[in-house]
């Protein structure tokens, strides 16, 4: 960074003197009050009020400046420029500020060189001055911010300058607003919030401050974003950026009609602001209206010389719609327009990474990070890529697995065959084959997976699909029993089919619904199951109707919303398949592929309006849960009014604690009859299984255990117990099934694999014995020689004598005195058995 741009101690602090509103020939009683009033109107987006108030005044000095701001607010940049030029005349109290705003206008048109030249001039003049007013500090901050686009370190100087502007005149709301915007631009949400809050404290109802707070909430992914934006729109209906932000929110919620309306409003207010154009263009692209998009693009190009930011916004919006290839293509256009634009480079790099182009994506992000070293997402992602470089890659048929060296073998041992099978069966069902290889990244740390997905830590999801690139948590990333890693991988693979089959136009509800449904179809117990809160929500009318089912995913407002949405969407898909046949579901997917909205796609697929289909679904849903519906309780406003089932469960628990086991069994069996699908840790089935086991009644214990493991995919203990009891009763095949389910929850316990190998041997399944013996080895047991020997035995029993010989040699290499291995070696050499 050049030292001349630094804010040095030689520049003295001065008091803002924005007074001087009175111009020759004008008669104003209280210029300070009027100035404050006009500024407030500008901050509320009311350009017209300012123009009315100043109508007939000579547009010099402050009058010209305020009129310039009003013109800029409405996108009349040429007029704004000429007004700022006039305001920047000699002896004007806002001379530097007006010049700085001229530089900003150049930047808004994409004239970076001109903007930088002007900003340099402003900065040089103010740095040389003996004293600076608050307005001058503001101007200096703006100048430094523009210079920051070529020298990132100048952003820090801009912060210092804004701080000094505020120190020079604490009533200067603009200083706080600028600080907030700059902090947010540099991904510092807490400081941005503090600055906007301070602006709002000084000027209650300031729409720009309210917009700033809403954008901070949006940055942090907070659910109150929508309400904050709505508040900002009420306070300042004339601020185009608020409408564009609302449009982006609608876009994310896949409410495209509403997004288009918001975009039009934003453009009508300020056609020079590219935010509204980006929303409009995104809607056009999502709808497949390329002619409209080209027209919009031409409008943008006529307003901005190198609209890289527009393409970056557009790419980001399409990325959120899961259209990663289109997003990358648009970001590429942005980079072509301005090869140094960090936002376009970030959008391109991110979407390349999502498509598996790791080297190229990394190069883009490194270049973006060089231009914007404050970008926390890029920093996180580059750190993640460093971590990823330590991972191992294993290819298995059509799949490429990337995981930590310590666990890639154990995971791919199962995932390879599982996903190959999944691919084959799904390809038949969906009549579509996603491009291969399909890359699955499996992260040992949840934070890494989260960064891979959204650039930040803290994502609650388990897996993500970008199409043919999938990522998920490794089982080691979470506590035992948190999730089923095999069903998660299956779920993500289904997304590759539904995304690909629709050219990435499938809405969230259908994509997630089908993924969960396919989990349930793949294996008993997999996929989300019915829970008491879900049934209580159904009873309380708290589930979204079919017409708004997507809201549960994209516009959740209550803690349970997303969880309910997954299960409800899967039930809707199940209903559609059972009612209209899977061909109907395929027609629906095809409708989306052709760019239809949900109403038309549903009508086309099922020959009925969405309201009618939704009504049938509601009836189906109520019939399906008829047994527990009146017993579970009712959820209203996040509070459950408990029903009879809950009372019985509580009573049963008290009886167990009091040692009244017979009464407990009777009570819990009544509860179980009310909701036989209930299989969580509080379910009557799980309690009954343990009670019957305690009493030595293994058949009854197994009956209830099977209920739990058939409906709950991540109940590790129940599966272990079921395996133990089935082994004890000689049901080795059943024990093996239970052990495999347990392994799909937690694969790291060698004892589980040894037990599975033995169960498979007893069940006469030598290939599974081999797999389980390989699993023991993959877990790097202390007794490696023993593990190699056992694998050798398994291979021999499976008829693969060559492989058996290789394994026994490995055992003996480590333990030459190992007598059993020696015997096996000689046996294999002789060709015995």
């Amino acid at each position: 960074m050049s030292a001349r741009f630094r804010v040095g101690p030689v520049v003295t602090l001065a008091v803002l003197a924005l007074a001087g509103m009175t111009c020759a020939g004008d008669a104003v009683q209280d210029p300070a009050a009027e100035r404050a009033s006009l500024t407030r109107q500008l901050d509320r987006g009311d350009a017209e009020a300012v123009e009315r108030a100043l109508s007939g005044r000579t547009p010099d000095g402050l009058v010209g400046y305020l009129l310039g701001e009003a013109a800029a607010l409405r996108g009349r940049l040429t007029r704004a420029d000429s007004l700022f030029a006039r305001a920047a005349g000699a002896n004007s109290p806002v001379q530097a500020l007006a010049s700085a705003r001229q530089a900003e206008l150049e930047a808004a048109r994409g004239n970076r060189e001109a903007a930088v030249t002007l900003a340099e001039r402003v900065a040089r003049r103010l740095e040389a001055a003996a004293a600076n007013t608050a307005a001058d500090w503001l101007a200096l901050g703006i100048a430094y911010q523009i210079l920051g686009s070529v020298q990132p370190a100048q952003f820090k100087d801009a912060l210092v300058a804004y701080d000094r502007a505020v120190a020079a005149d604490s009533s200067l709301v603009e200083g706080h607003l600028r600080l907030g915007a700059l902090f947010l631009d540099k991904y510092n949400a807490p400081d941005a919030r503090a600055a906007f809050t301070e602006a709002l404290r000084r000027d209650p109802g300031n729409a720009r401050a309210e917009l700033g707070l809403a954008l901070v909430a949006q940055f942090e992914g907070r659910p109150e974003t929508a309400s904050l934006l709505a508040q900002a729109a009420r306070s300042g209906p004339g601020l185009a950026r608020t409408h564009a932000a609302l449009g982006r929110l609608d876009l994310d919620a896949e409410a495209f009609d509403s997004a288009a309306v918001r975009a039009s409003r934003a453009i009508a207010l300020d056609s020079a602001d590219l935010g509204g154009w980006a929303v409009r263009a995104a809607v056009e692209l999502v709808r497949g209206d390329s002619a409209a998009f080209r027209a919009t693009e031409a409008q943008v190009r006529s307003r901005h010389r190198a609209p890289a930011g527009f393409y970056a916004d557009l790419a980001e919006a399409l990325g959120r719609q899961r259209q990663y290839a289109n997003a990358a293509a648009l970001a590429r256009v942005g980079v072509a327009a301005d090869p140094d634009d960090p936002a376009a480079l970030t959008a391109l790099g991110t979407n390349e990474l999502r498509q598996g182009a790791i080297d190229s994506g990394r190069a883009r992000l490194e270049r973006a990070f060089g231009r914007d070293p404050y970008h926390v997402w890029n920093k996180n992602t580059l750190d993640l890529l460093d971590e990823l470089a330590k991972y191992r890659t294993v290819t298995h048929g059509r799949f490429v697995f990337v995981a930590a060296p310590e666990e890639i073998e154990i995971l791919t041992l199962y995932l390879g065959p599982l996903l190959e099978r999944a691919y084959d069966s799904l390809a038949v069902r969906y009549r579509y084959r996603p491009p291969t290889p399909i890359r699955l990244e499996i992260y040992r740390r949840h934070a890494d997976f989260s960064v891979r997905t959204v650039g930040l830590a803290g994502l609650g999801a388990l897996g993500v699909s970008f199409g043919s690139v999938l990522a998920m948590d490794a089982p080691s990333a979470r506590a035992v029993g948190d999730f089923n890693w095999a069903s998660t991988a299956w779920h993500e693979l289904v997304h590759a089919f539904t995304l690909g089959a629709t050219d990435h136009k499938v809405p969230r509800w259908l994509s997630e619904g089908l993924s969960v449904l396919e989990e349930r179809r793949a294996r008993s117990g997999w996929g989300a199951g019915a829970t008491t809160p879900f049934v209580a929500a159904l009873a309380g009318g708290q589930l979204h109707p079919m017409t708004r089912i997507n809201d549960g995913f994209v516009r959740p407002t209550r803690p349970h919303d997303v969880g309910f949405a997954y299960y409800q969407a899967s039930l809707l898909c199940e209903f559609l398949e059972t009612t209209y046949g899977f061909d109907g579901v395929l027609r629906l997917l095809d409708g989306y592929r052709r760019g239809l909205g949900t109403d038309e796609a549903v009508r086309g697929a099922f020959d009925a309006p969405i309201a009618a289909v939704g009504a049938r679904f509601d009836a189906w849903l109520r019939a399906r849960f008829a047994t527990p519906l009146g017993k579970v309780g009712v959820l209203r406003d996040s509070t459950v009014a408990p029903g009879e089932l809950m009372a019985l469960l509580a009573s049963g628990k008290r009886m167990i604690e009091g040692g009244r086991l017979d009464d407990a069994i009777t009570t819990l069996e009544r509860a179980d009859g009310m909701f036989p699908d209930m299989a969580d840790d509080d379910s009557p089935a799980w309690a009954l299984a343990q009670l019957f086991r305690q009493r030595g009644n293994l058949p009854k214990a197994l009956e209830y255990l099977a209920r739990v493991t058939r409906h709950n995919e991540s109940q590790y203990e129940a599966n272990r117990l079921e395996a133990e009891l089935r082994t004890a009763t000689g049901d080795h095949r059943g024990a093996l099934a239970a052990l495999e389910r347990a392994i799909f929850i937690h694969p790291y316990d060698p004892a589980l694999h040894v037990a599975a190998a033995e169960a498979a041997r007893q069940a006469g399944d030598p290939s599974v014995v081999v797999r389980e013996r390989r699993a023991v080895l993959a877990l790097a047991p202390a007794d490696r020689a023993g593990a190699h020997y056992e694998l050798a035995v398994a291979l021999r029993d499976a008829g693969d004598r060559d492989a058996a010989r290789r394994e026994v040699l490995k055992a003996l290499e480590q333990a030459p005195a190992y007598e059993r291995a020696q015997t096996l070696l000689l046996e294999l050499r002789r060709g015995d058995r």
Partner: protein
């Protein structure tokens, strides 16, 4: 004394003595019922293993515990003085090249740079123990401290003819440890006998326990708060993962077993035993050259030697079972 020289010396001396001569088990203050049970189980497991698997008699085993039991196997209360007295007695009762094993479990701490084991009354410090071990001039002493915050004992006790194992790498790892539970399991079973020679060496037990600790933390998705270390080259710097050289060289040669070297009066079998030793040496040498060899040539030669070894062993067994 260099590690290599010590190893060479021990290879013969330990072979002559055949294994462990004396065992002292110290289980310290528990504090909570769960630790009373854990430390009690630990002591019992180690003592039982010594008697049943290493062939030690009642008189060769001493267990001092928090509470002195009126019946065996606990011999007395684990006070500082009692521990030091027991060590003094062992020093008198053992001779040159005997292997003396001291196993400790409990809660540890570190005050300043002084590591401690919490016992009833005054703690046992690293300095106390180092002074007491000074009496074992000719014996080989193995100290296994499975307590929390035990890491400082490595520096305090390191020296010639010493193997020191601690459950933690420093005094900062203060959480209760799991290492002792797995170490006891290694002593009481064949699980840790990774080279399948019928003996569990100190190194094997250490590696087994260390690996299982890591697995247990990983399985519970918890941050590992204990990192065991071993020192046997006397430099006072513990090693976590034992390599082919450095720490571990001696620990591989000391076993918790009385299994003696096989001999035979039958000249034919005796010759086969010599041949077996030759083959074992040849295999060890081949493995040492592995990195420098072509992999196919290595595997071919390894298989040839291993088949010869297996056949020789088979002939030995046949010779031994002849009427």
């Amino acid at each position: 004394m260099s590690g290599a020289l010590l190893a060479a010396l021990l290879a013969s001396t330990v072979g002559q003595t055949g294994g462990v001569a004396r065992l002292l088990v110290v289980t310290g203050l528990a504090g909570e019922p769960q630790y009373v049970e854990r430390f009690g189980k630990f002591g019992k497991t180690v003592v039982e293993a010594a008697k049943q698997r290493w062939g030690l008699g009642e008189a060769q085993v001493t267990w001092l515990a928090e509470t002195a039991a009126t019946e065996a196997p606990v011999r007395g209360r684990a006070t500082r003085d009692a521990v030091l007295a027991a060590l003094a007695r062992l020093a008198n009762e053992t001779g040159p090249d005997d292997v003396v094993v001291v196993v400790m479990a409990g809660h540890g701490s570190e005050q300043g740079t002084e590591p401690r084991l919490n016992l009833p009354g005054p703690d046992l410090t690293g300095t106390d123990l180092a002074m007491a071990l000074g009496a074992f001039e000719k014996q080989l002493v193995v100290v296994i401290n499975t307590a929390s915050a035990s890491g400082g004992f490595v520096k305090a006790l390191a020296g010639p003819r010493r193997i020191v194992v601690t459950a933690t790498k420093s005094g900062f790892e203060r959480n209760a440890t799991m290492f002792g539970d797995f170490f006891a399991r290694a002593l009481a079973s064949d699980e840790a006998d990774t080279d399948k020679n019928g003996r569990v060496s100190v190194a094997e037990a250490y590696q087994f326990a260390r690996g299982e600790v890591a697995r247990a933390y990983q399985g519970g998705n918890r941050l590992q708060t204990e990192h065991a270390q071993l020192d046997d080259n006397g430099d006072g710097v513990g090693t976590a993962e034992l390599g082919a050289t450095g720490d571990g060289t001696v620990a591989r040669l000391v076993s918790f077993s009385l299994k003696a070297e096989e001999t035979s009066t039958d000249p034919k079998v005796a010759a086969l035993l010599v041949e077996r030793r030759r083959l074992e040496t040849a295999i060890a040498a081949l493995r040492g050259r592995k990195a420098a060899m072509d992999s196919t040539a290595y595997e071919r030669e390894l298989e040839r030697l291993l088949i010869q070894l297996a056949e020789t062993n088979q002939a030995i067994r046949a010779g031994q079972t002849k009427p």
